[in-house]
Symmetry: C5
Subunit: 322 residues, 5 copies
C-alpha cells in the first residue's frame, strides 16, 4: 500500500508525485524521491524494482520478510532491514520489519507487519531543510534513528519488570511466580537482542572504514545511532546476565526456604515424638508401675511432658530451627 511518494530538491519538498512520475524526477540533478510503502504486495514491489533498478535478491528479501537486521550494498544502492519492536496491549512484544532501499537519488521504505507509523519522521525531516539537504542518506538515518529510539522504552520496560521481580526474589513463597516471569523476560530480551545486535555491525560499516558512497557525508549521524545501539546492547547484556543470576538466586532461595521448612518439621516432629514417647510409656500395661497409682500422678505426668516440650522448644528456638 502506497503511503506517500514525494520529490525533494535542496532539502525542500517539491511535490507529491505519482509513481509514474518518479522516473522524471530521478533525472533532475539536485532532486531525490522518497517513497513510503506499507505491507507492500508483490506487484508494488515489482513496480518499484523497475522504477529504481533494485536487485532481485533484495526485492526477494523484502517480499519474504523474516530477515535479520542488516545493511547490504548492491552496487550504488543500499538495502537495509530494521526490526520494529512494540508492545501489544497484552504486554507481548510484536516484531515488524522496515525495509529501506537507498540510492543516490531515492529512498524507498517498505514497512511490513508493523503498526508504527513513520509519518512524523517525514514531517520532522521536512521541518529541517538544512539537514534534509544531505539527501537520501539523511532520510535513511532519520528512519533508522526513529526505529532505534523506539527500542529504548521497550528496554526500559524490561528493566522495570526485572526490578519488580528482584523486589520479590527474597520473599518466601514467590519463587514459582518469579521464575516464570524471569523466563518470560529472558524470552523478551532475546527478541530485542535480535533487533539490536545484528544492526550494530551493520551500522558500524556506515561510518567507519570504507563507507558506502551515499552515506559518506553523514558519518557522524550513523555513529550516533551506533552509539545508541551500543548502549542498548550493554543494557541487554546486563539484563541477560542479571536474569541468569536471578534464576540462580531464586533456586537458592527455594533451597533455603525448603531447608527452613525442613528444620521446623524436624523440630515439631521431635516435640511430638517426646509427647508420644512419654504417653506410650505410661500407657504400658505392666502390673507394677507405682507412679500410676499416685494421687497426683496424672497431673505430674502432664507437667513433666509439658516441661520437657518447653525445654525442647526453647532449644530449637535458640538454634534457629523454630
Amino acid at each position: 500500500m502506497l503511503i506517500n511518494c514525494v520529490a525533494y530538491e535542496n532539502g525542500s519538498k517539491l511535490a507529491d508525485i505519482s509513481i509514474e512520475e518518479i522516473s522524471d524526477y530521478l533525472q533532475r540533478p539536485a532532486c531525490f524521491v522518497w517513497v513510503a510503502l506499507k505491507d507492500a504486495g508483490d506487484a508494488e514491489l515489482a513496480q518499484m524494482q523497475v522504477e529504481f533498478g533494485l536487485h532481485d535478491l533484495a526485492i526477494e528479501d523484502a517480499r519474504h520478510g523474516h530477515q535479520r537486521p542488516k545493511v547490504e550494498e548492491y552496487g550504488e544502492t543500499l538495502f537495509a532491514v530494521i526490526h520494529t519492536v512494540e508492545k501489544t496491549p497484552l504486554g507481548e512484544l510484536h516484531v515488524g520489519e522496515l525495509n529501506i532501499f537507498i540510492g543516490p537519488n531515492f529512498v524507498l521504505s517498505v514497512r511490513n507487519n508493523s503498526p508504527q507509523s513513520l509519518l512524523q519522521v517525514r514531517e520532522r525531516a521536512e521541518r529541517e531543510p538544512h539537514l534534509l539537504r544531505h539527501g537520501p542518506a539523511f532520510v535513511f538515518y532519520a528512519l533508522m534513528d526513529a526505529c532505534v529510539d523506539r527500542y529504548f522504552p521497550i528496554i526500559d520496560g524490561l528493566e522495570t519488570q526485572l526490578e519488580a521481580v528482584e523486589d520479590q526474589i527474597f520473599e518466601p513463597g514467590t519463587s514459582q511466580a518469579n521464575i516464570r516471569r524471569l523466563y518470560e523476560l529472558k524470552r523478551d530480551i532475546g527478541i530485542v537482542r535480535h533487533a539490536v545486535t545484528p544492526l550494530i555491525d551493520a551500522v558500524h560499516k556506515l561510518f567507519s572504514g570504507r563507507v558506502p558512497t551515499v552515506c559518506e557525508n553523514n558519518r557522524e549521524y550513523f555513529r550516533d545511532v551506533f552509539d545508541h545501539l551500543l548502549r542498548m546492547n550493554g543494557s541487554l547484556d546486563n539484563l541477560r546476565d542479571t536474569i541468569g543470576t536471578a534464576i540462580q538466586v531464586n533456586l537458592a532461595m527455594v533451597a533455603i526456604e525448603e531447608s527452613v521448612v525442613n528444620k521446623r518439621l524436624a523440630a515439631w516432629a521431635g516435640i511430638f515424638a517426646v509427647i508420644s514417647a512419654f504417653a506410650g510409656i505410661w500407657g504400658m500395661n505392666f502390673k507394677v508401675m507405682p507412679e500410676l497409682e499416685w494421687r497426683f500422678g496424672y497431673p505430674l505426668a502432664l507437667a513433666t511432658i509439658t516441661l520437657v516440650c518447653a525445654i525442647l522448644y526453647r532449644q530449637f528456638r535458640k538454634s534457629g530451627w523454630l
Copy 2:
C-alpha cells in the same frame, strides 16, 4: 552412481553427454559441464579425478566422507563440502554430505548418504538461462542455496519442539519428560550447528576479501547464502541458550514442587501428631484421671481433638502449606 552429466553453453543446455565426452566439451570456450554423482564409488571418483584434474586430498575427503563443511581452494578449482540434514520418519536427524568440485568450466557434485534429490536445482537453473550464464559458480551457489534452505524447516521444527516443552515446563509432574526432551533437543541442535557454523566462515570467503576467481561475479549470491546462514546461526544460538535456561528452570521447578510436597507432608504430619499425642495421653493408665470418668468425656475428647486439628488445618492453609 552417475545421475546425470550435461554440457551447457551460454546458460543453455547443449546435450546430455557421456563421461568419455567430457574432455571434448571442456575444450569449447563458452561451455561448461555439470556432472552429478550419488554415493560415488572409488572407481567413479578416480575417473572424475583424471577427467577434471582434481587434487588427491580433495578426492580423499570426498571418498572418506565425515568431513566438516568447508570450501577449499586447490589452484583454480574449489572443493566444497556441505552437510545435508533431514528428518527421518522416526523424527531423528540424518546427516548426509554434498561434495562439490567447481572449476572454471565444470561442476562436479557428489551426494553421499543423503536421500535428498537435487534434480530440481538443475531444473530451476535450466529454466533461468540468464542466471545459468554466470557459469559454474552460479551452479555452486544454486546447490549450496538448496542445501542451506532445507535447514530452515529443520530449525523451525526444533523451535516448535522447544515451544512444546516450554508450554509444559511450569506444569507439575512433567519435569522428567521435559528434561529428557530438552536433552534430545540439545543434541539435535548440535547436529544442525555442525552443518551451519563451519559453513559461515567458508561462505564469507566467497564474497569478501580475496574471492576465488571462479566466484568473482557471483558475490551477491554468496552473500545472500551467508545472510541465511547468519540468521540460522542466530536462531540456533537462541535455541541453545533457551534450552540451557529451560534446563535450569526445570531444575528449579523440581525443587519448588518438592518444597510444596515437603510442606504438605510437614503439615499433615503435624495434624496427625496432634491426634496421636492427645490419644496417647488419654490412653495412659494412671489411676486418677478424672476426665476419663466423665459421662461425656469421650465425645468431649473427640471434639477437642477435632477442634485443635481444624485450627491447625486453617493455620496451615493460611500460610500456604496445604
Copy 3:
C-alpha cells in the same frame, strides 16, 4: 551553572574571564580557555555551542545525559563522556556524568548529577605549569584521571564487602543473608563495569593507532589511564567471577546444611520410633503377657528401652548423623 572560566597561556593562568570574553582569548595563539559548568541548562549549553562551535549531536548527548562513557571525534573537537561513581551515605552507588569537549584551544567540562567537585584538578594543574603547557589534551587527561582514580576506592570497597561475605559463607545459617548481599554486590559491580569497560576502548584510541591531533603529545598520559582502567577491569572480572562461584558455593552449603539436618532428623526419628515401638508392644492388651506380671517388669522395660536407644545414639554418633 558556571563554576569557572579561565584563560591559560604557556601553562600559566592568564585571568578569570567572562563568557563573553572567550572568543577574544580563543584568537590568541598560545592561549587556551578552560570552562567548567555544573548541571548546565539548555541555555548555557546553547551559548557554549555557539562560542566553541560544537556539534549538534554532542550537545544533545550532553543535554540528555545517560550516555555510555565514550570519546568521539567531531572534526577537530573531541567529545568525551565519563561516568562519576560515588558511594552515598546509605552505601548505594550513585552515578553522575562528566561531559568534556576538547578543542585545539579550549576545554569545556560539564558535570551533571554529580556532587564530586573537580576543583582540585584545576588547582593541581595550575601548580604544574610545565604539564599544563601541553594544552587542552593535558587538561582532558587530568580530568579523566581524576574521575578514574575515584573508581579505585569504590572497587576496593566492593572487594572488602565480598571478603566479608566470604568469611561468612561457610557459617551455617547465613546463606540467605549471604545470597542477598552477593546479589547486591553483583549489581554494584555492574554499575562500576558500566563506567569502566566502555572507557577502555575509548581511551585506547587516544594513544594507539591514529590518535586525534589534540591528544598527540600526551599519548603516554592516556596510556597510563588506560593501564589503570585495565587493572580495574581485571579486578571487576575477578569480582564477578568470584561472586558467581560464591553463589554456587552458597547453594552447595545450603544443600549440605540441609543434608546435615536431614540426617539428624532421621536419627532422632529413629530413636523415638524405637521407644514408641517398645511402648506400643507392652501397651497391647493381650491377656497373657507374662513380663507384664513381673515385679521388676517396668524398670526392666525402661532399662531395655534406654539401652537400645543408647546403642542407637552411639551408632548414629559414629556414622556422623548426630
Copy 4:
C-alpha cells in the same frame, strides 16, 4: 636411542648412514637426511645439535619435554612439538611427545615417552617417491599427519563412552556412577584438547600468511592436517558441552528421583498416621466409649481403618504419589 638415520635423494632412499656421515650427505645438493631418535639422552641431543646447528632453546625444550604443542621458527629451521595420545590397557590416556626439527635438508624426529612407533610413516613415504621428493617438509607433514590421525580413534572412544553414559542418565539409581564417569570423561577430553588446540594455531601458520620457506610447497598438505584438527576441535567442543549439560541433567534427575521418593514417603507416612490415629483413639481409657462394648466393634473398627486407608491409597495413586 637412535632408531634410524637415512639419506634420501630425489625422493628415493640413498642409504642407511651412520651419524658421522650426516655432514657429508648434508652437502650434497638434492639430498636430505632423516634421523629418528627415541627417548634421546642429553649426549645424543648434543651431537644432533652440532650436526644440524640447532638452537639452544629448541634443544632445551626437546630435553625437558612437557611442552605444549607448537611450531617455532629458528632462522631456517623449524622446531615442532606434537603430543602423542594413546590409550593404555587400563583405559587411561597416556601422553607422549614427538619433537621434530626440520631444516632445508634434514628432518630429525625425537620421540619421547611414547610407545607408538612411527616406522610405518617412513615406510609409506619411501613407497611414494613422488611425494617424498617434496623434501623435509613432506616428511614433517607425514609425521604430523600420523600423530594427528591417531587422535581420531581416541576421540571416537570418548564419544562412545559418553553415549554409554547418556543411555543410563535417565535410569534411576545410576546417578552416582554417571557423574563419576562424566567427570573422568571431562578429564580425558582435557588431555586430548591439550594436544589438539595449540596445534591448530601452529599449523595454521604453515599454510596461510607468511609461510616458513621449508613448508612453502606443501601448503595444501598442512591445510589438510589443519582441517582434521578443526574437525577434532569441533568434536571436543561438542563433547565438552554435552558433558556439561549431562552433569546438569544428572543433577536434575537426582532431584526428580528424590522428589519421587519424598512423595512416596509422604504418602505411606499419611496412611500409617491414619491407622495410628484410629488405633490411638480407640485405645483411650475413657470409661464411657459405647462402640468399645459393641459385639462387632472390633471388626467394624478394622474395616473402617482398612476402608479409609484404601481410599487414601487410591487417592495417592491417582495423584501420582504412589
Copy 5:
C-alpha cells in the same frame, strides 16, 4: 635499598661501581650498567630517575606498586612490571613486584615486597658472557625468565591440591571440606592468573610485530618466555575449568548422598510405622477382641510383627533403599 650496581662490557663484568660513577660508564660505547634495588625508597627512585632519565609515570608506578604486569615503552626505554608469586610457610600465596627499566645501556631492577632473591640470575648471566653480550635486553629476559619459571612449582602445587580434592570428591561426608578447599584453590588460581595473563600480551610485543629496538636481537628468548606463559595459561584455564566442574559435581554428590539418606529414612520410618500400627491395633480397648484372649496370642502377635518387618526389610534391601 641498593643490592648491587655493576658495569659490564662485552658480556664481562667490568667492576662494581658506585651510583655516582654510573653516568661515567653510561658514556662508554660497548658498556652497560645493571643496578638492582630492593624495596626502593622515594629518594633512591628519584636518584635513579635522574641518572637514567626515566619517565615520571613509570617512576610513579614503581613507587606506588600494585600494578598489573605490563611492558611499556617510554621513548627508547622500556618499563616492565612482573609479579613474583611465592608460597608462604602457611601455604598462602604472596605476591610481590619486580619493576624493570631497560635502556640501551642500562638495566635497573626494583624488587618490591618480595623475599625472592634474584642474585642467581646475575651469577648465571656472568657465567655466560656469550649471552650477556646481547646487552640489557638479555638481562631483561633473564630476570623475566627467572620470575616466570618460579610460577611453575606454584601451579604444580595447585594441581596437586586439586588432585587431592578430586580423590575425595566421591567420598561421602567430605563435601563441605571439599567445597571449601575448591573455593580457596579458585582464589589462588586467580592470583596466579593475575600474574600470568597480562604478561602474555606484554611479552608477545617483544618478539612479534614492531619490536622495541632494545629487544630486537633477543626475539627468540622472549618467544621462549611467551611459550612458557602460554603453557601456564593453559594449565590455569584447565584448573579453573576443572574446579568449576568439581564444585558442580560436589553439589551433585551432596544431592545424591541426601537422596540415599532420605530413602533410608523412608525405609526405617516405614518399618517402625508397621510395628506401631500393629501395636496400636492390639492396644485398642474393644471388649470383644478374641485374639487377645488366646494363650499364644502375644507371641503370635510378636511373630507376625517380626515377619512383616522382615519382609519389608528384604523388600527395601532389594530396591536399594537400605
